[in-house]
Amino acid sequence: MVNPNTNLKVEAEEVPVAEEAPVKLEINDLTIKYGQHTALKGVNLEIREHEVFGIIGPANAGKTSFLKSINRMDTFDTNMSVEGQIKFNGLDIQDLKNIYALRSRIGVVFPLPVGLPLTIYENVALSPRLRGINSKSELDVIVERCLTRAALWDEVKDRLNSLGSLLSGGQQQRLTIARALSQDPDLLMLDEFSIAVDPVTTMRIEDVLKELKKDMTIILVTNLVQQARRLADRTAFFLENECVEVGNTEDLFTGEVKDQRTRDYVEGKFG
């Protein structure tokens, strides 16, 4: 007979084991500027493999800029500059010659869905095609798997050849998620993905994310602190262009915080 209490204790002690998981992303003294305006300054944190890393904080705290810097989106915007160090699998991404390979390993989902002007099928098949997969049977498998994971397959399986951009907003967002998954990414970054999605579908996608954790690392930026609580293993709190603190999600929500502002935000006193 196993004492239920002992059992609980063993599980509690398993948390530190996760902390020893290999580091996926190492952020050292990251500062992001748009021209003269500083969007984020002096961020230091680590994101480990196979964890869901939540980022919470009010609007304009620098959460989206943080994600953009990881995907090297600063190259799209001459106004955006990134200082400090971001190491992906131990490699400094500022030194990377092949940023295309970096981006192809990172799936990104932004708040507003972008259905590319292609059919539903081609939206999901595009990334595999970019990697050189052209066999119809292989693509079929990938498309079905990704759409199923994004909780969209049942709704679109009979009209895969109609335009993705004609889907409803919530469906387009799930299509965007399916497209991100079609990259077969190591790292999935979701930026307030549920803004355009109804609550039922949001819960379905959240279940999917819990599954995906086995295969990839997930960064979840969210305005819904309860969503971070449901999903994230560890959570960072961003406020006024700074990372206030990083901690185990449960600690943040049970009041074991280092900074009073975190407690106030989590309890809904501002934000």
Binding site: N71, M73, F76, T78, Y100, A101, L102, R103, S104, R105, I106, V108, L112, V114, G115, L116, P117, L118, L126, S127, R129, L130, L163, S165, T176, R179, A180, Q183
Partner: protein, 289 residues
């Protein structure tokens, strides 16, 4: 409660007045076009026949058909397109998809705008200096077409850029975010959605090229040639110059002949424009977002 006050009545009168004014201005615009078409059809319609289109001019250009001029215009337009479309589209793709916003691209931008503003006679003289003399093409289809190509390049570049710009930036970023290179993004997302606008611009360029006279009269178009061009280094007759010649330079031309030539020329241009408009409407119906 809703009784009409004096102020209401006055506002309505003024509004009606302006409506009439703008309507009349609009009607006024159509009048010259209608008169031109009516005159051409009524005075020149009689000479149009299959023979007129497909025989050589005879009797010192006072009789016969216009075939060499018609064919020459097709030659000139075709060669001009071969030169200007690849160049213009490539330049537009570079400017819109690759180049950043810096002094270099702004300079090119300025050059394109100025190129569009250069009078056609100046292009003609440039064509003589550059293509006829310097490159040694002589007065030939090639020299005439290249002169026209340079003159119409701004049209191609501007219309291509407009169509590229109409493709939302979010599509490009979504594609780049998946690890696509610029070229992969252009080929798979941008060009398929911009091609309709690009083609529309090309068709408009055709109608402009077909009608130009000054740039070709010193560079490749001949007053009269009894034979058809065999290649791009030959001279040729052209519709626009032929019209100028039979209308003003040759004595004893029957009155309806220049009208007939003008009618054919304007029909060529209108047909190209109509195709362009129909094409645009068709593709607009297929818009993907």
């Amino acid at each position: 409660m809703f009784a009409e006050s004096d102020l209401n009545a006055r506002n309505k009168r003024v509004q009606g007045l302006f409506r009439m004014l703008f309507l009349m201005m609009t009607v006024l615009l159509i009048v010259p076009v209608a008169i031109i078409l009516f005159t051409l059809v009524s005075k020149g319609g009689g000479v149009i026949s299959i023979d007129f289109l497909f025989t050589n001019p005879t009797d010192g250009m006072t009789a016969g058909g216009i075939f060499p001029a018609l064919l020459g215009t097709v030659w000139i337009v075709a060669v001009a397109l071969l030169a200007s479309v690849p160049l213009g589209v490539a330049a537009a793709i570079y400017l819109n998809e690759y180049a950043g916003d810096n002094w270099f691209t702004r300079l090119i931008q300025l050059a394109i705008i100025n190129l569009a503003g250069v009078p056609s006679i100046v292009h003609a003289l440039f064509g003589v200096g550059a293509f006829v003399i310097f490159f040694g093409f002589g007065t030939s289809i090639l020299a005439a077409s290249l002169t026209l190509a340079i003159m119409t390049l701004p049209i191609v570049i501007v219309s291509t850029r407009e169509s590229l710009r109409a493709v939302p930036q979010a599509f490009r970023e979504a594609c780049w975010n998946m690890g696509a290179t610029r070229w992969q993004t252009i080929r798979r997302i941008v060009l398929p959605n911009a091609i309709s606008g690009i083609l529309t611009g090309v068709i408009l360029e055709v109608s402009r090229t077909a009608g130009e006279t000054a740039p070709i009269m010193f560079t490749g178009a001949a007053f009269f040639l009894p034979f058809l061009p065999q290649g791009v280094f030959d001279q040729t007759m052209a519709m626009s110059l032929h019209l100028f010649v039979v209308a003003t330079q040759v004595p004893g031309v029957p009155e309806e002949l220049p009208f007939g030539v003008a009618l054919v020329l304007i029909a060529m241009v209108l047909i190209m424009n109509s195709i362009s408009i129909a094409f645009r409407m068709y593709l607009r119906g297929k818009k993907k977002w």
